[in-house]
Amino acid sequence: MHEEMSLSERLIEAMEPHTMFTIKLPWLQIPVADVVVVMWVIMAVLIFFSIFLTRKLTAVPNKKQNVAEIIVEFVNNISKDAIGEHHWKAFAPYLGTIFLFLVFANTVSIFNVIPGEGFKLRPPTRNINVTASMAIMSIIVVIYAGIRYKKMSGWLKSFIEPLPLMLPFKVLDYGIKPLSLALRLFGNILGAFIVMELIYMAMPPVIPAIISVYFDLFDGILQAYVFMFLTSLYIAEVIE
């Protein structure tokens, strides 16, 4: 099927989202891309495991409760370290949610076990629209944290805090933070994805499996951690 396509055409084919089906409503039609379907699958898996791991909680944890407690404690410790003892509880659920979602979204291509052409699990974060919406979510949480813990007047005053001269830079800050969050995640995942696609094309058998440990697993989990870490730092900065 792909014999007569050139290398760059195959790369572009792998990078672009494909419309899988269209939701037909009487007044409009919504095309649903494979990126969205993969995200739905990840959400379903996360919801299933959240319910499965937290059923019948007891004071003395059994096996599956231990797994849930390790994950929750990991996220709690990070938000406690970054945000501080007083306010971390309000933000730990959000940080944990984006971390778990991004871990699955970045590393989803290692679950790609169906051989042959057709539908493939590819990381949805290789699309800039996904990472941009995640970054906008994070900056909304940051603004909400500022308004909630410093009141509207205190938050507005923080724009001119040391000097009124700082106002343009502080306003610019709220645009640069989500931009760099989105581009960092997008660039890292797309770069790793392109390298992996090239390796799959050049030397198909065993070698991609070894290299994928770095590019898919390590890089994906590291970028998910970095996204959560930077969000927690931005929150800590604004509520101080």
Binding site: S8, G187, N188, F229
Partner: protein, 74 residues
């Protein structure tokens, strides 16, 4: 035209030099710090991660510019 775009993309990827030098300097200093004070390893790790991530941003911007040049203009 295609050749010029390819050269432009290659120049954009030169931003990686700065990120490489910056991350290696930060990591080197962190290793020195941990060797001197092993008890501060946790805090040093956090700061180094933050510094590496911020230094890496320039390289990522260069990569994104190169990708845009190659895939959207050719």
């Amino acid at each position: 035209m295609t050749g010029i775009i390819a050269i432009a993309a290659a120049i954009a990827v030169f931003t990686g030099i700065g990120a490489g030098v910056g991350i290696s300097m930060a990591t080197g200093k962190a290793v020195e710090g941990i060797a001197r004070q092993p008890e501060a390893a946790g805090q040093i790790r956090t700061v180094v991660l933050l510094g590496a991530v911020l230094a890496e941003a320039t390289a990522i911007y260069g990569l994104v510019v190169a990708l845009v040049l190659v895939f959207l203009k050719m």
